[in-house]
Symmetry: C2
Subunit: 234 residues, 2 copies
Amino acid sequence: MNLLLLSNSSSEAGYLVHALPAIRELGQALPADASAVFVPFAGVTRDWDDYATLVGDALADLGWNIQPLHRAEDPVAALEAASVIIVGGGNTFNLLRELRRRELMPLMARRVREGASYLGWSAGSNLACPTICTTNDMPIVDPGSFDALALVPFQINPHYTNAHPPGHRGETRMQRLAEFCAASPAMPVLGLPEGTGLRVRDDGMELVGPHDATLFLGRREPAVLRPGKVEVSA
Amino acid sequence: MNLLLLSNSSSEAGYLVHALPAIRELGQALPADASAVFVPFAGVTRDWDDYATLVGDALADLGWNIQPLHRAEDPVAALEAASVIIVGGGNTFNLLRELRRRELMPLMARRVREGASYLGWSAGSNLACPTICTTNDMPIVDPGSFDALALVPFQINPHYTNAHPPGHRGETRMQRLAEFCAASPAMPVLGLPEGTGLRVRDDGMELVGPHDATLFLGRREPAVLRPGKVEVSA
């Protein structure tokens, strides 16, 4: 498999700019005009056409031929033909519901297992996990089930931070993840801070970006993972 | 109906202390030894017995006879006999899943419609709404469906704030609620800040506490609701 799972898309530098070197590396074995499909379904307040334009512009230098999935006459054929599947962020529940309504989840998982590259950020990284149970998003729509693509055998929490607005009495992120770990004590969760991503290849994984990630598992003390080669196991 | 839906439980003053005057007012028509049931199922990292003790101690001065639902030999009989149903905060998904597993949701809704008083905070306030779609909690377990008690015909967002840790690129609360409003444009959402609560009686509603609430509906500009008599309609 050939995955790049990013925490976030935007930064001071511009949309996806911080991640371009890693995205380029993801695609280095592909032809310059590789067929890519962009999945915009996490967009809720953002128009899907506008979203596709934003992403197309951000990735223009790669030369990929990017087709937005909502514009494909035959979405199944588009995914079957794609060398790269790009899944953008937004609301994870909406993303999963739209893919499930179209019955595209098993096909997407198969295509990536067959060798299509997968680039996701935020909700797109949640989607690559066994379930969407570690999303930060509001459950604005019911996706029918929380099962996701299971491209990796652990959970990701994107935009990971333990910062908290002063005076706020709601749960901290660490408390929320501790709740997940209490409910699913054998499932690791990788907290990916802004600016980082996880590069997954058949022969191993690498934490990319300037920050450490945090690994949660059951009641164990959270572990710090440094950028570079990482292992995540239960 | 006789409801008190609080944003939060804890404050500098102590557990539920800020809400005691409103809770006392909720119970003023009840005998001092009224039968109450406490629902601890939103607790995930908190032991249910410990949780029941915490709540029992916090409400001791009211004189209610509080039975924790998880200790009831016959939960159906306990709810049928209760004059007050108390639903504590924690994780809304866990709360809903546990109630649904025990098939207690229709009974709880009926008891409150028949006249049992309802006191909820945080997840307990989410539960009183048509769905749990405006919870802030992480979806750590799948409740099977997002449908909730529908005691009020609108959604509540507890712990409402638009504060945001500096530098964080994830969604603000207002952006999350805007996504809900885009998906459900006819459903009002009441953002209840910390320290506030909504008092619901057959003849009207009142915002209690020292802060304004914010009302969201579709694409309309959010409206500010001042403490005192309020109306929420689509």
